[in-house]
């Protein structure tokens, strides 16, 4: 399979007009989260609008109502189901894998690309979750820290592992994240690295370290994410600390460091996914970036490089999770099982370019697309994997305070 952008399989036929127009104007390569993220950042998607309304109306809390789940004795016996509803991030699947599954199961997959932003999606469904009802989805795809929140609050349904035999193909490095040690509730959809993206032509030299972001020569040409888990995590690595085990005070210190650089004018912008456009246009010389985006950008702009800094990088997964009161947990599990078939996972990996949580995919792609199979950003080797660090689990209140601290630095 080749990876020409126009051969990446069918586009969504319900692409929002604004999104389409914007891509037209910007001439930007298709990037998974980019466009919607930007709208989300600007608070303009329908989702944000409803989050906004929810914010105006409801001010009940989401703290744990004391539900405990027996994960050992989960049983979702085989049942007939007519459809499974999956809310996933935009441009995050090759849609041609869906029809074979539908045929096999005699059911429909309603695949929604309405998961644009972790906080925003949560804000949207929060009230339904609080009231104990279902959210009209059988699968959602929260990032690790948000998955942790769903599990903590008792909004996740444990997986009946007997229905997901292919889960054995899960990469060892992803098998036991701190928030779900035995993968009782989640299975990774795709993973990625948060590292540094840069343009060597602009920087005039190879970068090696997180500290290179502070090089005065790059003043005003550096960007970071608004999300503290990524930005402060990387900065902590630069300070020689392990972001996974770091304390809240460590993060506060890292955020203060970011503030210092920002006040000096070193940092041009704090971004969501919209850094991709500025990086491609040469407005940014070096920035904190997500690996899959860089693989996609390199297709058009081979000069760009993705760096896993010598101090290490952050890694994350977006996880399939069954929200409370699904219409069919069994159906959701059959789909999980299906995408953990290496043949299927290979098709998805070739399309989305993030790194693949399923074992055996590399071997399959080595035959069909060796270049892709050797890409360190899609199939990192053990040496790279050893350099990657997970997000911390600091608890709801400290994490909320850090979000507020980071927002203060990023200007709002």
């Amino acid at each position: 399979m080749t990876r020409q952008p126009d051969e990446r399989g069918p586009q969504q036929d319900e692409e929002p007009l604004e999104q389409f127009l914007e891509r037209l104007v910007a001439g930007e390569p298709i990037s998974r989260r980019s466009v919607l993220r930007r709208f989300a950042a600007a608070g303009l998607t329908v989702g944000s609008a409803s989050a906004f309304l929810a914010a105006c109306g409801g001010v009940e809390g989401t703290a744990n109502k004391g539900t405990t789940v027996d994960v050992a004795n989960v049983s979702h016996p085989k049942e007939d189901f007519s459809k499974v509803v999956f809310s996933n991030w935009p441009l995050y699947i090759d849609q041609k894998v869906i029809p074979p599954w539908e045929k096999e199961q005699g059911a429909k997959l309603r695949y929604l690309e309405d998961y644009n932003d972790n906080e925003e999606f949560f804000a949207k469904v929060r009230q339904e979750l609080e009231s104990g009802s279902g959210i009209g989805r059988d699968l959602v795809a929260p990032t690790d820290w948000m998955a942790a929140r769903w599990i903590d609050l008792g909004y996740a349904v444990p997986i009946d592992k007997a229905n997901v035999p292919n889960a054995k193909n899960l990469q060892d490095s992803l098998a036991s994240p701190p928030y779900d040690k035995n993968r009782d509730f989640t299975l990774p959809w795709q993973s990625g690295i948060t590292g540094i993206g840069y343009n060597p032509k602009k920087t005039g030299r190879k970068l090696t370290s997180v500290k290179d972001l502070y090089d005065p020569a790059f003043k005003g040409r550096v960007s970071m994410f608004t999300e503290w888990r990524d930005s402060a995590g990387l900065v902590l690595l630069g300070m020689g600390k392990d972001p996974t085990t770091a304390t809240k005070d460590d993060y506060t210190e890292a955020i203060a460091r970011i503030d210092e650089e920002n006040k000096k004018g070193q940092i041009r912008k704090f971004t969501g996914n919209d850094y991709t456009k500025d990086l491609a246009a040469g407005n940014l010389w070096a920035c904190i970036a997500w690996s899959g985006d860089l693989v996609q950008l390199q297709a058009d702009n081979p000069n760009l490089e993705f760096l896993v800094p010598e101090e290490g990088a952050m890694t994350w997964s977006d996880n399939m999770l069954i929200p409370q009161k699904p219409t069919t947990a069994y159906g959701a599990e059959t789909f999980m099982n299906y995408v953990y078939d290496p043949e299927v996972a290979a098709v998805i990996a070739a399309y989305v370019n993030y790194f693949c949580p399923v074992k055996g995919v590399k071997e399959i792609l080595a035959k069909t697309d060796p270049e892709l199979a050797n890409n360190q950003l899609i199939f990192p080797d053990d040496k790279t994997l050893a350099q990657l660090h997970a997000y911390p689990s600091l608890g709801a209140a400290p994490e909320r305070e850090l979000t507020a601290e980071m927002q203060k630095v990023t200007g709002a």
Partner: protein, 304 residues
Amino acid sequence: MSTAGANAAPKSGGGWFTLRRRRALLPAMFIAPGLMWLIVFYAIPIVSQLWVSLQTGNPDDGFTQTWNWSVYPDSISEYSDQLIRSVEYALTATILCLIISFPLAYFIAFKAGRWRNFLLLLIILPFFTSLIVRTVAWQTLLTDDGFVVNTLQSLGVLGENGRLLATRTAVIAGITYNFLPFMALPLYASLERMDRRLVEAATDLYASRWTAFRKVTLPLAAPGIFAGTLLTFIPAIGDYINAQLLGTSQNYMIGNVIQSQYLVVREYPTAAALSFVLMLGVLVIIGIAARALGLRRLSEAAAA
């Protein structure tokens, strides 16, 4: 208010429903749709904002009503930078809009002849696309290696390493561009219906062209200037798109703070308090303008 009475009245019928009473009810019936609009889309949201702003708590454990009035001084002092910046940017952009729009409107009204409608269409045309798309297009225009920056650099206006995108200049320019029609159109309307013979009369009476402009044209255009100023300044002060897309975090305005307090930090009381302060501020500005100009002239101008 009296809408229920107005609807129920015909059914109760009979002797009570005399012509005199019907006449008395008529104004209420006419005002009802507007009043409902105002209640549903203005009064209720404002009261709800006020209510939420006085709560304390956090998004995980919930918020409870504590009548915490200190949220107002606290959030104002916390975000005073962004508040002042909003006023500064909106004011600068409004003045720039006026400087650009006046000659433009003057030309279209008096000199454009048969091109007049075409030129008006040209002013409005870009606004058929969405605000975001237009602003993103500016990102492309002002890009570091782009034509605009390169030209300004070779002219020496921008330093060797200078940039436009992600600066204060870009944000103010973006706001100016995005709100230009709100200034240009009311100005055009007030100039267009001006009686040109008054200027002729002034020059006949030995006024220089400058004096005639200052003493005749300008006062007659005043309602348009005021209407345009309000229509530009008010949306500009709450704008956050331009700061978001063309600025850096150092250029963020109060709208950016409100947006992020609602959707990212989920600190609803602060967000509600800031929204309320902004709304109150705008009302005060309108009040001052109304005072200075007289309400009648103001609504006349708005009707223009």
